[in-house]
Every structure is written in C-alpha cells, then in structure tokens.
Point group: C2
Chain length 395, copies 2
C-alpha cells in the first residue's frame, strides 16, 4: 500500500537523524552535551505550574476554539505593556507557535504561492510550507556580516508574481540575529508595494542583549492590516511542553478565516491554557533573570569560540542560538563523528549541522547551529570539546 | 489587504452560528438545555486528573514528537486488551483525534483526491479536507433505514479515478449508527480492489448498546497494511479538553511519513499526555458506568421522541447522538427560533440543525442532531420542550 506522493521522500531532519547516534554514545557511557536543541534548562515559573495543580473542575471540557478568555486577556495585557495596542479579539490561541505559523501560511497564500524568508531559517517552516502546499523562497544572509538583511533593491529582486508573504523571525532562530528598525522599514515598503502579508515570528522577543532592541512587526502603522504576529510561551517562560502559542493580527478578515480552521480542531488543550494564562502574568523579574542568564552563556560561547582557529562566528544579539562556520567541509559528517568516534574523558558534544536551516542547495554545509541553553560550566565545556574535536578531526 | 482564495467564503458552522442567540436567550433569563454539542457531563476519571496535580518536574519540556512512551504503552495495553495486536511503534500521539484525521488525509491522498464518507458525517471532516486540499464524496445513508451502508454495488458506484480513501466513523457521530461486520467486509473488498486507504474514526468504540457490537477496522487482516485507526480520549474518558488522540496503523510507511508532520509541530502537550497515560489505564468499571448512563439517556430520548407526531427517528445503537427528521421544513430557522422566540416556563432547548452534517445540497434540511449528554431529568425535559416547540412552531 503506497502513500500519497506529497508525503514521499521528505528528507529526515539532519538534526533528528543524529539522535540514534547520541543514544548509542550514551549507552557506551559517554556524556553528551546537548547544544543541538532549543530546550532551555531554566525553570518554568512555579506559580504557573501551581495553577494547574489547583485546577479543580471535575470535567475537563472543551474550551472556546480561539482560546480561554482569561488567557486571551492575559496575553493582551502582556502585549499592551509592550505598547502593541491589541485586544482579545485580535488573538487566536494555538497549539504552540507551530500551529500559528501554519495558520498564517494558510490565510496569506494559496497553493504554490511563495513566502520569502531570510536564510538560514527555522527548519520547521518547511514542514508547514509542505502542509499548506506553498513554497519558501530563501533570502540569502551570511555569517560574515552577522546575517543582516540585504538592501531594499536586493530584497525586491526576490519578489515574483507568486510572492504573497514575507516571514521575519527576530530575534532569529538559528542565527541569534536581531533585525533592526531599518530592516522593517524596508519590509514594510516592500509589503505595501507588492501586497504582501508580513508574518513576524517573535517568540524570542524578550531575549535581546547589549544595545540591541527588539523591533516588532506590530509597530508599523502602515502595515497593520497585513501583519500577523506569532507568539509562544515555549521559550520566554521555558514551557516548551505546554504547546501554547498565538496567532495575533489586527486584520479581522484573517481572524475570521483562521477561526474556521481553529473550529475544525475544536480547541487548544485546556489545562495548558490554564497554565499559560498565568505564564503571561509572570513577574518581569523572571524574564530579566532568564535574559541575563542567556546573555552570560552567550558571552561564554563567544569567548570560547574565538579560541578556535579557522572559524567564522558573529556575536549574536538575541535569542539563544548562533550559527558558526567551521574549518570543516561537511558538518553533517562531523556532527555524526562527534557522537560515534570522538570523546575526551568520556565526554562529547552534540551540535546541529546547519544545512537543515538552508533551503538553497549546498549552503550551510560547513556551518553548525549552537544553542546556548546549558548553564555556564557545561556551556564552556561544550565549546572546549568542540575545539578539541575540530583539532582531532582535521588531523 | 485580502486573504488567500482558499480561505474565502467558508460557510460559518450552522451550529456555531447559533451560539450568539443562545447567549442572548440566557441574558433574557431563559434556561437553555444544550443537546446541540457532544460535550459530556460525565466526570473525567479523578485518578487521572490527580496525576497531573502530582506532576513535579521543574521544567515543562518538549516530549517526543510521537508522544511520551508511557502514554504509547498505555494506549497499546488498552487496544491489545481489545485484541488489536499493536505495539507502541504503530502509534503517533496527536493533538486530539482532530489532528489524527488531518494526518490520515495528508498521508493517504494527494491534492484534489477524494475520500468517501457515509453521509451525514462529522462536520469537521470538511475542515480537515480543506486543510489537506482533498474532496469529500458523500455516500448517501438515510434515517429511514437507520443510516445503514448501501450494498457493495452501490458503494462501488461512488468510486472514481480520484478516490483514494474511505472513512468509516462507527459508532457514528452524528447518527449513532453502529456499522456491522458485513459492512466492513464490503469496505475491505472495495479497498483492496481500488487500492484505497481505510480510515476508522472509532472514538466512540466503547459506547454500543443492546445487541450491537463494535467492529473495528483493525480486525481485518486483509487490509491491515491500508488501515488507519483514529482514537481520542475526549469521549471515552470525558476529557474533551485534553486534546489527546492517536494516529494508529500497522503500515510503517504511513508512520514514517506522518512522523515528519509530527516533528514539524514538535509534540503534543506534555501535561495532557501525562493525564492521558493514566486515562487509558482507567478501570473498566468507569467505562461500563458511562456506557450504562448513555444507554439510559438514549432510551429516554427515544421514548420521548416517539411521542412527537410526524417525526422519523431510529433507535441509535452507539455513541451518544441521533439524527431525527422533524415535521419542519428548515431546521436552521427552527433552531434559531427555539432560541429567539420560544420558551416554556423560561426554558428552551438548543439543537444542532443537521444540514451541517451533509455535503450534498439540500439534504438534512428537515433533520436535527440530538446529543444525549444530559442527565436523565434534563434529557427528558429537553425532548419534551422540543415536542412543545414543534407544536407551537407549526401552528
């Protein structure tokens, strides 16, 4: 019995592909430092977890398809504190930021239309593009200049008759780049000229360092009718397992259309919505502390990376990732080798080969993504192991 | 700013459309008996809810994309108790049965392919068909003969070059019909002859009454490589808000393909999976009691319906729904009128117009779906209100 043509030959994720090798290494008694995934170790706000423990309804019922009102209200308060000027009617609560991305693709594009995304980009966008049957057209950015957006003219050159949307992820996963006001001005101009929807994936909005400032797609009055904000509790509140996110827009047509998709799947999980309502009320101190912690880890990663010969690294100013060019031809092979053949004092490190974050053929083959989600000592050790491994591998 | 063509003009759900009128009625002090939705009032197993209260991890992490192993194990045990002979590798845990239906459409059909579904059918299949860009071809069934499947020859006449799947929902929402072994034999023969995937939506499997026996798509050896079972905790354990379901198949190609979709959305909600692992271990007594309760309610509904002149009702042998033909031209108007213009002692009843469960034009316009999800006294009163209302409406 065959399967549909569309589901044939989807390449296995280059990151997930490595998991069996990591498991094998662990069975051999090797400690594996995981800097390959964005699963933070910071504690989920305990008050929010407590809220779930106090859930005392006897029947776990469906919620509203667009989410529990108390959660929509607490999201609204959170964003209005950031001066986004939204109301609960602008929000549809989703199964993680993931579903919000899928909804944004469905509502802004028809079959075979194109969405522009600066490359490298979050690999799962490909999965949602597949589900929505649209194509990703990558905009080239490079580690050498910190993965900054190209000029307006260059951006414009990517537009085709099929281009219907542009997705900006900032602070960026996988690069850690924070796009600036000037970048958004270019995007806004382009969107107006070519009638594009602007999708802002800003789930790392709170994690910006040094002098960088988070700029949101929600700040530009001239595109407010064509803008969709993607949010999630996963990273900000270290609650990846909650799978609560949001599709946010001031365009009522988008809301109405997405509501029909939301109704089909009935509702997001009720208990996790109770949790999330409390998460969005988390004290600013929690967020400040998390941000300081990630900044410290970033500094360690950058410091240790600079001790490695032949690498090209930029200092990421946001999120908790960076993409680094290594003096190695094929980081997929190298990442596997780290797990199968390398160890120092019974320890090794697991990294994400960057090719999975590129749509263009042959880009990213000598790059890796590092997630700085381990506490200081382990973070430092991870990069030191990487340094050692590169030396051994190249000899 | 426009939206995609595909999201334009999706008709609002005829059930959801009535909600504002129900809210208005309540504001006027009218008590509304809700027999319009499948939200059971039976208590969620308290032991499972307690399990969530005892969740003591400090970080709410991602789970595996295919679900927490403990949950897959407890699902396996549950189904093997029913002699389905599955193992955890046959299961991908989903965001409700909803996502499992979507996955089954994606993996069995390409764009514009067709799935056969006996009509009337669960209205949300239309939403998933839209998302997967496939078409539903309805197989006509009728209240007059208890919504039974037609003959093999008649079934075969629905097959076109585009037909790639057939979906059987049994016990059925909205009709309450339980399809029999002979029906499945026909389906199996058809599936083999025309290379179809057989999708079994069996989330009401435990709720069969009198001499009816639940037959599963999993029982037919000859189609085991082309069969997908959809499951959900929502109805069996009265846990609709958990949004935990499952995509189950012995076809490894289906599992591998669906895994790529599952990975894109990362994982189902962690806390609700902890709950669900316990739900699948619920004592059989709980299920037996729930079933007895629904049977009693069904008997009341059937008894009271038979007191109404001019209706056509069948005695449903499963699930907790029935579709009834009323002596009324347009049940959409009638259902609205019940909320806006009718009351007896400050009480009225809310029903689901059946047209939303039909894909064929003009079918179901004089039918309603009744969900027997209220306790005995309220259930009886609801149907008595319906009787009274029909008399008033027709005079």
């Amino acid at each position: 019995m065959g399967i549909s043509n569309r589901m044939r030959g989807i390449p296995a994720s280059p990151i997930r592909k490595l998991t069996p090798y990591a498991n094998e290494a662990k069975k051999r008694g090797i400690k594996v430092y995981h800097i390959n995934i964005g699963q933070p170790d910071i504690k989920t706000p305990p008050d929010a977890l407590k809220k779930v423990k106090n859930f005392n309804k006897e029947v776990l019922k469906y919620s509203q398809s667009d989410g529990i009102f108390d959660l929509k209200k607490s999201m609204t308060d959170y964003f209005n504190n950031l001066h986004y000027n939204i109301n609960p009617k602008n929000i549809i609560v989703t199964n993680g930021g993931s579903e919000a991305i899928y909804f944004s693709f469905m509502v802004s594009m028809d079959t075979k239309d194109e969405v522009l995304i600066p490359e490298p980009y979050y690999a799962n966008y490909n999965g949602f593009a597949k589900m929505a049957d649209v194509n990703v057209k990558p905009i080239e950015t490079n580690v050498e200049n910190g993965f900054k957006l190209p000029s307006y003219e260059k951006l414009e050159s990517y537009i085709s008759g099929k281009t219907k949307a542009i997705l900006m992820c900032s602070p960026n996963n996988p690069t850690g780049t924070v796009h600036e006001k000037g970048d958004y001005k270019k995007i806004a101009k382009l969107a107006q000229k070519y009638d594009l929807t602007v999708i802002g994936d800003e789930v790392y909005n709170e994690f910006v360092y040094d002098n960088a400032e988070h700029v949101s797609v929600m700040e530009f009055e001239e595109i407010k009718d064509r803008t969709i904000l993607i949010d999630s509790v996963s990273k900000r509140y270290s609650a990846c397992g909650a799978r609560i996110g949001a599709f946010i827009t001031k365009n009522k047509n988008y809301i109405d259309a997405v509501m029909s998709l939301a109704q089909a799947r009935l509702c997001p999980p009720t208990l996790e919505q109770v949790l999330a309502a409390e998460l969005y009320r988390t004290d600013r101190t929690y967020i400040k502390n998390a941000k300081n912690e990630y900044r410290k880890r970033r500094d360690i990663v950058y410091e240790e990376l600079n001790k490695i010969d032949g690498i090209v690294a930029h200092k990421p100013s946001g999120a908790f990732y960076t993409v680094v060019k290594l003096p190695i031809d094929d980081t997929e092979k190298f990442a596997k080798w780290l797990l199968t053949d390398f160890e120092e004092n019974k320890e090794t490190v697991m990294v994400a080969p960057a090719s999975g974050f590129y749509a263009s053929d042959n880009r990213g083959k000598n790059e890796i993504r590092i997630a700085y989600i381990l506490e200081e000592k382990n973070m430092r050790r991870s990069i030191q192991l990487l340094k050692k491994a590169i030396e051994v591998y190249n000899n």
